[in-house]
């Protein structure tokens, strides 16, 4: 039933760190043009999940397909090339490179220089903070600026699937607001997004479907309306 409306579908995914099992039988479906969120507490396995989607963490079991095409055996760079972009602010930046070069590294697979210039111009329109810091070394950016850079670095590819790993991590409330405004903008442009968050309230405000992950297993899957009414929301910041 890997239907065409799912941009990404994960079936029966297991991963482990050494001999310690981490993800167990994870099934997730991200629909085209929608925002799907995965909520979970610290250490639940969210980052492990997004790394497994890019094959940075290897799957022990299970399969993955993108728009119906099986990608289970593809190496990381091929998955990125096919249009999966991951923005993880916790992964940091290329510290000694300028903001400009960081963005160009993000656009690794855009060969056409004219297209690249256009995309950069677009990015600087949507992220004015970055335009002001073009030549600044990424290692000297503030937390909020670095999150913006991490998102911009992924968005510059106009990915078929954008994965955001905890974009609100470590940010002041006003910056969280700003980051989620950007996510809303991207959602309005019909970008398919997998949003991984601890901040449930914020995530539910942009997503249409939601999952909850606990100790490496999916314990809830459904619409955000159902999720909002569920017992998982008793503690809205997971």
């Amino acid at each position: 039933m890997s239907d065409e409306s799912a941009i990404l579908s994960i079936r029966g995914l297991d991963t482990s760190y050494g001999r310690i099992p981490m993800l167990r039988d994870v099934n997730i479906e991200v629909l085209r043009g929608q925002v799907c969120c995965v909520l979970g507490a610290n250490g639940a396995g969210k980052t492990t999940l997004v790394k497994a989607i890019l094959n940075i963490v290897k799957a022990d079991k299970g399969s993955m397909s993108m728009s119906g095409e099986d990608i289970s055996t593809w190496p990381t760079h091929r998955r990125v090339q096919a249009g999966i972009a991951l923005s993880a602010s916790a992964a940091g930046s290329f510290q000694k490179m300028s903001v400009d070069t960081n963005l160009k590294m993000g656009a690794y697979y855009i060969k056409d220089t004219k297209l690249l210039e256009e995309r950069l111009a677009e990015i600087y329109r949507s992220f004015p903070v970055l335009r002001e810091r073009l030549q600044q070394k990424a290692g000297t950016l503030s937390g909020g600026e670095r999150t913006m850079l991490a998102i911009a670095r992924a968005v510059i590819n106009k990915p078929r699937l954008l994965i955001l790993d905890e974009p609100s991590l470590g940010l002041a409330p006003i910056m969280v607001e700003e980051v989620f405004n950007i996510v809303k903008q991207l959602a309005l442009q019909q970008m398919s997004i997998l949003l991984v968050e601890q901040n449930a309230v914020k995530a539910l405000s942009v997503a249409s479907t939601g999952y909850v992950i606990q100790k490496g297993a999916i314990v809830f899957c459904g619409s955000v309306q159902d999720l909002a009414k569920s017992e998982f929301m008793d503690n809205p910041v997971m």
């Binding site: 990381t76 760079h77 992964a91 930046s93 510290q95 000694k96 490179m97 993000g106 670095r153 470590g170």
Partner: protein, 320 residues
């Protein structure tokens, strides 16, 4: 004044020989976070393969038929090929298998590989060269006596042009090579990938950089740098011994540490600094030659204590 000028030139030349080996250390450390301790041995292996190839080319009579400069280019190419292969061997067999175990393992295994390279040179150089020389030329034009004896390095840089021209060439070759490396690292996609992998491996993966291919290319390029480094060492010293690798490895490593292990330009400055300290201590301090090496290593220790990030290494701590 004349003495000062002479020392200046010596220091520059010695610095050139250290620099390229230090650059090898820093390139490898950048992508693998491992000190590849056999860099010196790889460079000496490069010098020996050039010496060996020289004997073979002589026996084959190529030096009489081809223009001299073409023969030299051919020899450099052979040296580069040998060292690039050796770089790949080092990566594939003594670093990659241990990349998930403790940091000490690849360190020890590259030291072991260095010993293997050294002993292979000592034992196999003579039979290998003589056999291929007679295979190519019927009878060897020059016979290599023993790989364990010091070998005379052939005069390949303007043999009729006198010593000054040779020195100028050594400096020019170094500068040219570093310039090429600079352009490669900053202007090509592969070069930028190498820097990216060095700065943040996980993010490089997320960005879609083919990290394993980048590492392989780094070892090839590092191998070529070491080959040219070995060639310059040979051209400068004129006499080479199969066990010179440890000494040049230690100097190259020290230079890379002084420069900040990850920083290629630091490695250049570190190499020069080390050479200048050695040469000027030997020149100006009474009986200085005996202390030169020690003083140079004291400089290294001072750097490790007071500026562990290296001369131009900047401290960038990323808060999350």
């Amino acid at each position: 004044m004349e003495m000062f000028a002479g020392l200046l030139v010596s220091a520059l030349l010695l610095g050139c020989t250290y620099t390229l080996i230090a650059v090898g250390f820093s390139l490898f450390f950048g992508v693998m976070d491992v000190v590849v301790f056999c860099c010196g041995d790889i460079a000496i292996f490069g010098a020996f393969s050039i010496m060996g190839a020289y004997v073979v080319l002589m026996s084959a009579g190529l030096f009489n038929t081809l223009p001299f400069i073409v023969c030299v280019a051919l020899l450099l190419l052979i040296g580069a090929l040998f060292c690039a292969t050796l770089g790949l061997v080092a990566y594939r067999f003594s670093i990659k298998p241990f990349s998930h175990s403790s940091e000490l393992m690849p360190l020890l295994s590259t030291i072991a590989l260095g010993t293997v390279i050294k002993e292979v040179l000592g034992l196999m150089f003579m039979p290998a060269v003589n056999a291929s020389a007679s295979a190519f030329g019927g009878e060897a034009a020059l016979k290599v006596v023993s790989g364990r004896n010091p070998q005379g390095f052939p005069e390949l840089l303007f043999p009729n042009g006198g010593v000054n021209l040779r020195y100028v060439t050594i400096i020019c070759v170094t500068v040219l090579l570093l310039l090429l490396l600079f352009i490669f690292l900053n202007k090509t996609k592969m070069g930028l990938s190498m820097q990216a992998v060095s700065q943040n491996k996980e993010l490089s993966m997320m960005t879609g950089i083919n990290v394993s291919r980048t590492i392989v290319v780094t070892f090839i390029i590092g191998g070529v740098m070491l080959a040219i480094g070995g060639f310059l060492v040979g051209s400068y010293q004129k006499i080479m011994s199969f066990d010179n690798g440890a000494m040049y490895g230690a100097k190259g490593f020290s230079a890379a540490v002084v420069g900040g292990l990850r920083n290629t330009w630091g490695a250049v400055i570190g190499g020069m600094l080390l050479a200048f300290v050695e040469v000027f201590v030997a020149g100006y301090v009474a009986n200085g030659a005996a202390y030169a090496g020690v003083v140079a290593f004291v400089v290294v220790v001072i750097f490790i204590i007071f500026k562990p990030e290296g001369i131009i290494g900047e401290k960038t701590v990323e808060k999350v």
